[in-house]
């Protein structure tokens, strides 16, 4: 069983601020952690490997500091880790990201299962997993809460809004994981010692033979035109009148705020 896990490093807090001038994220004091759903992906991959044998490779596209998360993945039991990093990848949207990851997966080759977290908690798109599946031309099972291997197929339960759907598909396939799938293990101190000293290979655009038109900003159809911190109304708005008037006004206000 050859398994590839896609890992993204995200800030350890979502309570982030934007520099109003540069429009960049203020990164000072923010540490990187593995995207929580990706930890479920790693756990599931390692669990399957422990049971059926094989090899788990973790890949991550991002700047050099994403190595930290790959090392943590190694300390959780992943066998190999590859950082896909190149200045030319900067500014990638999900389509360009999925292109690069799919190219890396093809280069690794011979895969049975590909795991991605159901979405990354920073950008919150959940698009890269299905886009990788499409680019590889293999099926996807999204929002998976339980997984079982049966010969050359997987049987998975998908967590929908108000139902659980049980599906089966022949391998290879892309699986996107929910936190209900498992309880991710902690990195083991013994494996930490090995992971910390391990050299993580870096694949650049040229090593992937990536089409320059499909990577980075060039390969990204979407563009961010503005980024801002949503206003938090600090001033309370008092609603007055009879109880009935208050109820009517409040209802309208809540409708405007789109919370009802």
């Amino acid at each position: 069983m050859n398994i590839i896990v896609c890992v993204k490093q995200v800030p350890d807090t979502m309570d982030v601020k934007i520099d109003p001038v540069t429009k960049n994220l203020i990164r000072e004091g923010i540490e990187g952690v593995i995207n929580p759903f990706d930890k479920n992906a790693i756990e599931e991959a390692v669990k399957i490997k422990d049971e059926y044998g094989g090899k788990v490779t973790a890949i991550s596209m991002g700047p050099p500091q994403f190595k930290e998360s790959l090392k943590e993945a190694l300390a959780m039991g992943v066998d190999e880790a590859i950082l896909i990093s190149d200045r030319a990848f900067a500014g990638a949207d999900t389509l360009a990201t999925s292109y690069v990851l799919a190219e890396a997966i093809k280069k690794i080759g011979n895969y049975d299962l590909i795991f991605c977290g159901k979405h990354a908690v920073d950008a919150d798109t959940g698009q890269v997993g299905p886009e990788i599946a499409e680019r590889l031309g293999i099926p996807q099972i999204t929002f998976v809460k339980s997984l079982k291997l049966e010969n050359d197929a997987v049987v998975a339960e998908r967590l929908l809004e108000d139902a659980v759907e049980k599906v089966t598909v022949k391998l290879p396939a892309v699986i996107t994981t929910t936190k209900e799938l498992n309880e991710p293990r902690y990195p083991s101190p013994i494996k930490i010692m090995k992971a910390a000293r391990k050299e993580i290979p870096i694949w650049s655009a040229s090593e992937l033979n990536a089409d320059p038109e499909q990577i980075g900003l060039k390969g990204s159809p979407t563009q961010v035109v503005d980024i801002f911190t949503p206003e938090k109304t600090t001033e309370v708005e008092m609603i007055q009148g009879t109880a009935e008037e208050i109820a009517n006004t409040l209802f309208e206000k809540l409708r405007e705020k789109k919370v009802l």
């Binding site: 300390a75 902690y186 083991s188 101190p189």
Partner: protein, 380 residues
């Protein structure tokens, strides 16, 4: 001089921090309330390799350095001083076996201790002999192939919870500290029993008991080190323990500071957060400075240990400085929380009770100041 943690030190810190936040911290209030020893947390610590981090891989440890060891204690103490204390006491016994045990003893006792399969305890103190180690009364006499131990040991951290006890007793009453030897005693040995369980002021999730040795028989080969070497073994082990107490102080104080800072930002008085007032800012500034100073001392001490340089004075210094810093920080956290700080609904009062132990156990501040002072005077 490099103040940057190594990659493995950072990874260990992150791992233990995560473990603590999830498995340990949420339980501390309950442990304090019930006074029950958290066997389940110990089991999880064992499963996740926390018992063996700074010890050799060949005996089941992770092979990390002593800085990783103090980081482990520090992070655990952020969530629970009791749990950190349990590991500190465990490592006291582990140090004794690791440094003075022969190959067979290490295989038999060190390995299960490092994997966490067995908890260990270290015992020197007696009801009437604490700082004055030479005054201990318990004895061991050789009877054929066995040592026969008699006496009562007091304030044994991990008493009852442990399966492996490193116990210092007199093998030669005519000599002072030179007449002390240490033995590895397994729980369940004939004549070995657990006495009174202490109802402690703080660190109530750690367990402290008496040990009663009544013609307690242990095999001859369980003598640790040489006959008469017991005091030396104890002092070497306590160097490590004191360093770890310093690390506990850092973690405990961090926890108190975090609560105080959070509260100072959220609590309003006179129309603004109380953190805007200098009286509060000054207390927080002191916390920050003193925690950082202690942390640097602790890490430096661990570095000396890794370099196999004697660190008795440094260990004594971090323990005295750190424990007093932790007391002050917890006390000021209570002050910042005001009335709430004085209630059991908030952690600082618990942290204060926990911190008090750090000034007493493994060498009281008074004795350690003597150690530090006399070392300085001798060297000048």
């Amino acid at each position: 001089m490099n103040f940057e943690l190594t990659e493995e030190q950072k990874m260990i810190r992150k791992m233990v921090r995560e473990f603590t936040e999830k498995e340990v911290a949420p339980r501390d209030e309950e442990m304090d309330r019930t006074g029950e020893f958290p066997y389940d947390i110990m089991k999880k610590m064992a499963e996740n390799g926390l018992f063996g981090i700074p010890y050799p891989e060949e005996y089941g440890g992770a092979g990390a350095d002593s800085v990783c060891g103090v980081i482990t204690i520090e992070e655990l103490a952020k969530g629970s001083a009791s749990v950190a204390l349990t590991l500190d006491a465990h490592w006291l016994a582990v140090d004794a076996i690791n440094l003075f045990g022969n190959e067979e003893q290490k295989k038999k006792y060190l390995t299960p201790a490092l994997t966490g399969e067995k908890i260990a305890a270290f015992s020197l103190t007696e009801p009437v002999a604490g700082s004055d180690a030479a005054a201990i009364q318990a004895t061991a006499e050789l009877d054929g192939d066995e040592w026969v131990l008699n006496g009562t040991k007091a304030f044994v951290t991990n008493g009852d919870a442990a399966d492996i006890y490193v116990i210092a007793v007199k093998t030669d009453k005519s000599k002072g500290v030179k007449g002390i030897s240490t033995f590895i005693v397994e729980k369940g040995s004939p004549g070995f029993s657990i006495g009174k369980k202490e109802d402690k002021m703080g660190c109530r999730g750690s367990i402290t008991t008496e040990l009663i040795l009544k013609d307690c028989r242990v095999p001859k080969e369980n003598l640790l080190g040489k006959e008469g070497e017991g005091f030396k073994i104890a002092m070497v082990a306590l160097d490590g323990g004191r360093m770890h107490v310093g690390a506990m102080a850092v973690g405990l104080a961090e926890a108190a500071k975090d609560i105080a800072v959070k509260y100072a930002k959220e609590r309003y008085a006179f129309g603004q957060p109380i953190g805007n007032f200098q009286a509060v800012q000054f207390m927080i500034a002191d916390m920050e400075m003193e925690i950082e100073a202690t942390r640097l001392m602790v890490y430096k001490t661990a570095t000396l240990r890794d370099k196999k340089i004697r660190y008795s004075k440094e260990a004594a210094m971090v323990k005295v400085f750190g424990s007093e810093m932790a007391m002050k920080t917890a006390k000021n956290a209570i002050q910042i929380l005001g009335g709430y700080g004085y209630t059991r609904d908030y952690a600082p009062e618990r942290l204060l009770r926990d911190a008090k132990l750090l000034e007493i156990g493994e060498g009281a501040s008074e004795v350690l100041r003597m150690v530090i002072g006399s070392t300085v005077l001798r060297s000048k």
